[in-house]
C-alpha cells in the first residue's frame, strides 16, 4: 500500500513539468536574447575600459617623463645654487659685519665763514667729524670720532676726539674704556658738535683748550656711567659718571698756561672725576623740563706729580615749549709753587634760544633766535691772543633747513674794547648726519 502511494506521488510529480513545458521553452528564448544583449553591452564596456586604461597608461608615461625632466632640472638648479652660495661666501662674510647695520656711520660736518675785526681775520673754514659706531653685541659698542679740521697753515689737522668701548653691564651701569669726552657740564660732552651747538662759536670757558678753554675736551681712562628713573615717574631721572683717567696737563709751568692733551700720562698721579645730573620734574608737569648738574675733575698736573689741579662746576638747563635756557659755571684751581701762588680761573655762560615754530609764517617758522653771555676770569694769560677777563655777548639765529641741517649767523661783541679777539661775524652751515 505504501509503495502504491509512493508511485502515485512520483507519477503526479512527473506530470506537473509536462504541464508547464510550453511556457518554459518560450521564457528561455527571451532570456538568451537578453543574455546576448548583456554580453554585447559588456564587451563594449570592456572595450571602452581597455581604451581608457591605455589612455591612462600613456598619461602616466608622459607624467613620468615630465617628472624625470623636472628632477633633472631641479638637480641642475640645486647644483647652481650651491655653486652660487660658495662663490658668495666672502660677500656674506662682509655682510655679517657691515651689511646688517651693525656698523653705522654718523657724525657731523660744518662749513664756516668768520670775520674778526681786531685780528683782521676773514676766512672760510671747514670741519668734518664722522662718528663710527660698531655694535659688537647687544651689550658691547665701539665708537670713535676722528675730527678733520683745516688749520691756519693750510694743513688738515686730524684729532681723535674720542675712541671708546662701551660695555652695558646692566640697566644702571655702563663701563667705558678708552679716550672719552670729558663728562664735565653739558657743553663739552653733549653740545659741542656744530649741528647741536646753537651758535657758531663755543662759550668762552668751554672753547677748545688750545683756544683758551678752562678744561680739557677729552681724557683717556676708564669710566662708569648710567642713568635711572626715580619713583617710577617718567622724566624724573638721575644720571651719573665716575671716572679715572690720565688727568690734566699744561703746556708750561707759567700762570695762565694753556691745557695740553695728556694722551700719555706725564706723571704717576691719575685724574679723577665725577658728574651727577638730576631731572627733578616729571614729564607730565606743566612748568617744563629742568636739569641740574654738578661736576668735578681733579688730578696732579705737573711732570713731577707734586701739584694738584682741581675743578668743579654747576650746570642748568631749562626747556619749555620753544624756549631753552642753559647756564654753566666752572671754577678751576691749579696749585703752583708757594712763591708763585695758585693759578685760579673761573668762567660761565648763560644762553637762551627761542624757536619761532609757532609763528604761522612760511619759512619764518624755521628760525631759532639765540643769545649768549659768557665770561672768564683768570690771573694771567700766556697766549697773546687772549685776555685775562674777557666778556662776550653773542647774538644770532639758526635757520633749520631740516632737523639736523642749520644755517647759522652770529655776531659777537667782545669786551674789553680793542682786545686781541674783538668782535666777530660768523656764519656756518652745520650738518648732522
Amino acid at each position: 500500500m505504501r509503495l502504491t502511494r509512493l508511485w502515485v506521488v512520483l507519477a503526479v510529480l512527473n506530470v506537473v513539468p509536462l504541464w508547464h513545458e510550453p511556457y518554459a521553452v518560450a521564457d528561455s528564448g527571451n532570456e538568451a536574447g537578453q543574455l546576448r544583449e548583456e554580453i554585447r553591452r559588456l564587451r563594449e564596456e570592456n572595450e571602452r575600459s581597455r581604451q581608457r586604461m591605455e589612455e591612462l597608461e600613456r598619461k602616466v608615461e608622459q607624467l613620468e617623463t615630465k617628472d624625470e625632466q623636472k628632477q633633472t632640472e631641479l638637480q641642475g638648479t640645486v647644483a647652481k645654487e650651491v655653486e652660487k652660495q660658495a662663490s658668495a661666501a666672502p660677500r656674506r662674510y662682509l655682510e655679517r659685519y657691515f651689511g646688517e647695520n651693525r656698523f653705522v656711520l654718523t657724525g657731523w660736518g660744518a662749513a664756516s665763514y668768520e670775520w674778526q675785526r681786531n685780528p683782521n681775520t676773514n676766512t672760510f673754514t671747514a670741519t668734518l667729524a664722522p662718528i663710527l659706531l660698531y655694535r659688537m653685541t647687544d651689550r658691547v659698542l665701539f665708537e670713535a670720532e676722528p675730527e678733520f679740521e683745516l688749520k691756519d697753515d693750510g694743513d688738515t689737522e686730524v684729532n681723535l676726539e674720542y675712541a671708546q668701548a662701551d660695555i652695558f653691564l646692566n640697566d644702571y651701569v655702563t663701563a667705558v674704556g678708552g679716550k672719552f669726552l670729558l663728562p664735565f657740564g653739558e657743553f663739552i660732552e653733549q653740545l659741542h658738535p656744530a649741528w647741536i651747538n646753537k651758535l657758531v662759536s663755543a662759550p668762552l670757558p668751554f672753547r677748545e683748550p688750545e683756544d683758551g678753554g678752562l678744561l680739557p675736551y677729552s681724557n683717556t681712562g676708564f669710566q662708569m656711567r648710567g642713568g635711572a628713573q626715580l619713583f617710577d615717574r617718567e622724566g624724573l631721572d638721575i644720571a651719573y659718571n665716575v671716572y679715572i683717567a690720565n688727568g690734566p696737563r699744561f703746556d708750561s709751568d707759567e700762570v695762565g698756561a694753556l691745557l695740553n692733551p695728556n694722551n700719555i700720562d706725564n706723571n704717576r698721579g691719575k685724574g679723577y672725576g665725577a658728574r651727577l645730573a638730576l631731572y627733578p620734574l616729571p614729564l607730565d608737569n606743566p612748568v617744563g623740563r629742568v636739569m641740574l648738574g654738578a661736576s668735578t675733575f681733579d688730578g696732579k698736573w705737573d711732570d713731577s706729580g707734586d701739584f694738584w689741579f682741581t675743578s668743579w662746576g654747576l650746570d642748568l638747563a631749562y626747556q619749555i615749549a620753544e624756549l631753552e635756557v642753559r647756564a654753566e659755571y666752572v671754577r678751576t684751581q691749579r696749585e703752583m709753587a708757594a712763591d708763585v701762588g695758585d693759578d685760579d680761573r673761573e668762567g660761565w655762560y648763560v644762553q637762551a634760544a627761542y624757536k619761532l615754530a609757532r609763528v604761522a609764517v612760511p619759512y619764518l617758522d624755521r628760525l631759532e633766535l639765540v643769545g649768549r653771555y659768557a665770561g672768564v676770569n683768570q690771573r694771567a694769560v700766556t697766549d697773546e691772543e687772549l685776555v685775562p677777563h674777557p666778556r662776550q655777548v653773542a647774538l644770532g639765529f639758526d635757520y633749520w633747513l631740516t632737523p639736523s641741517i642749520a644755517w647759522k649767523l652770529e655776531y659777537d661783541r667782545d669786551l674789553p674794547e680793542d682786545a686781541p679777539n674783538d668782535d666777530a661775524v660768523r656764519t656756518q652751515i652745520a650738518v648732522g648726519f
Binding site: 646688517e100 647695520n101 651693525r102 656698523f103 653705522v104 654718523t106 662718528i131 659706531l133 660698531y134 655694535r135 659698542l141 665708537e143 662701551d166 652695558f168 646692566n170 640697566d171 644702571y172 655702563t174 667705558v176 653739558e186 660732552e189 653733549q190 653740545l191 649741528w195 647741536i196 656711567r225 648710567g226 642713568g227 635711572a228 628713573q229 617718567e234 622724566g235 631721572d237 644720571a239 651719573y240 659718571n241 645730573a277 614729564l283 623740563r289 636739569m291 638747563a317 626747556q319 633749520w400 632737523p403 639736523s404 648732522g432
Partner: protein, 93 residues
Amino acid sequence: MRHTRLWIILLVSAAAFRLVGPGAARADEEAERRALVRRGARLWSPYCGACHNARPPAERSPAEWDTIMMHMRVRANLPAQDARALLEFLKVR
C-alpha cells in the same frame, strides 16, 4: 583612581597650554611692545630735544637705530627702560 585623575588633569592642562599658551604669550609680548612704543613716542621729543632737534624715525633703518640708540644711551645717560622705549618707537614703520 587618583593617579588617573592626576594624569587627566595634567593632559588637559598641557593641551590647554599648547593651545592657549604660546598665543597668549605672543599677545602679551605684542601688548608690551605697543606700550613701549607709546612710551617712546612720549619721550622722543623731550629726551632727544634736551640736546638737539629730535631726528625723525624714518631717517634710519630699524637696524641702524639699534646701534645709534646704544650710542645715545651712553652719551645722554638715558635710563635703560627709556632707551628701550625710544628704540621701539624709532623702529616703527
